[in-house]
Symmetry: C2
Subunit: 287 residues, 2 copies
């Protein structure tokens, strides 16, 4: 049985640093604050919101939720967004997406202050992730994957890493973060031929496809490192990842469970981003 | 012997469309115009400039060169840049890079009008390339590679494509353009272990590493498609690519030469971008 990589352990390790940094800001008269903007009340958003609020509280970061009606107009939405965006007491903005279809998300991406863009919506931060410039904010989930691997002492330099999934939330930005750390990356997706073979070649296999238990026992080589970014609900209504944990835990050198894996690190990354945003906005540290 | 893919043939095919589109703009009273901004006089820049001027002339696109002294100050440079950037008669800007070290390139990237950014410096266009949104401008060379493959009827969907090189000029943006076309992409670089093996697995192998003839006969599988983006000068002062053409031409199904390959398509892509920029700027076509 390989080592099970636990999100809670990584979050625990990060906690002290977050508290210390939040305190350092408070000593300077800055009260770090995250604003969560939620349109409507999807259950997945509410669940993440609870986790984020709890994490901010543990770190000593304020958290305010701006809850908006699903039938808000574009004009009203932009007005509400700008209030938060221009509020000097807010240091990070988390906007739940996708927005309802009648709202223009593109416009918001171009409006958000890059220093407050703690989950990487703005082209400025996306371009930085793309080019390997880590002065910006990467999306929280891909960065959580990197943090998890670092915590467990798994080096990336020269490793063959296969990422299954090419979304802008995980697959693509994660590939760029891995490339920056000198991994040889392969990006797979629904059109990939012979996915099994490509996965079996990987030293590190990362599943971010959003398909329940699609990575099965024969799809990884012996002693591979397996990271599961999927969050799905199976036919029996249970939460599960993209990896069939049961059939892979034995042969993997390291593996993350779902729940209890990468998802447990994401809000800690979010907290770290809010603190960094507060420093940028107050000129304490430079981009 | 595989089919030699010739840049001149692709450029020839594109020529009629470019001329027609330039004429359509002129009939609307718009005189499409590229501005080239060059600081100093590096020989590689001068050589590309000659090619670009000739291509614009053939297409019926005006081309003006703004030549600036190597010791220009940041302030003066920004002023000159803004003149061109704000000139309603200019529809595309090609700035030779890297700039001399005392000049701040980052600032210019954020200043350039995204519609005039025909070689993809701005975060807006970079983020679009990253996310697979083709309403922006990709850098010309990666797009020339795609055009070359399309011209020779080489499909990308589901193909294993290995890109050697991870620069922001070729490797990374090209990988995103390939991903958009549903290729399974692998990005290799100096830290990649067992490069030979990774290259041999590719259906399509693209060399963009900037190392003379580094891709040798044993590094591609039988009937691979080989695209050489390298432009190097060998020890004897001759221009050569990253691919050892002699040892690979026999086994490849398709292969590009250097010179005479991808390089011959780049300025045609630049011309197409200027025309598209002119349409965007005049509200003729939407982003």
């Amino acid at each position: 049985m390989g080592t099970v990589m636990k999100g809670a352990e990584v979050a625990k390790e990060m906690k002290e640093t977050l508290i210390r940094e939040a305190n350092e800001l408070k000593e300077k008269g800055i009260d770090p604050c995250l604003a969560i903007i939620r349109v409507g009340a999807r259950s997945a958003d509410l669940s993440y919101e609870r986790g984020a609020k709890k994490r901010m509280e543990l770190a000593g970061i304020a958290c305010k939720v701006v809850e908006l009606s699903e039938d808000i107009t574009q004009e009203e939405f932009e007005e509400e967004f700008q209030k938060v965006n221009q509020d000097p007491e807010v240091h990070g903005i988390l906007l739940f997406r996708p927005l309802p279809k009648h709202l223009n998300e593109e416009k918001i991406k171009n409006i958000i202050h890059p220093f407050k863009d703690v989950d990487c919506m703005s082209p400025v931060n996306l371009a930085k992730v793309f080019s390997g410039d880590d002065s910006g904010f990467a999306p929280c989930t891909p960065e959580a994957v990197i943090k998890m691997l670092e915590h467990y002492g798994i080096s990336l330099c020269g490793k063959k890493v296969t990422v299954v999934g090419r979304s802008m939330v995980v697959g693509r930005p994660l590939s760029m973060l891995l490339l920056k750390r000198h991994a040889t990356i392969t990006i797979c997706h629904t059109r990939t031929k012979d996915l099994e073979k490509v996965c079996r070649e990987a030293d590190i296999l990362i599943a971010a496809a959003g398909k329940p238990r699609m990575i099965t026992g024969d799809m990884a080589k012996e002693n591979a490192v397996i990271v599961d970014v999927g969050i799905n609900v199976d036919e029996e209504g249970r939460m599960c990842g993209d990896v069939d944990f049961e059939s892979l835990a034995e042969k993997a050198a390291f593996i993350t469970p779902v729940p209890g894996g990468v998802g447990g690190v994401t809000t800690s990354i979010l907290a770290a981003h809010v603190l960094r945003g507060a420093k940028y906005l107050n000129g304490i540290s430079k981009e």
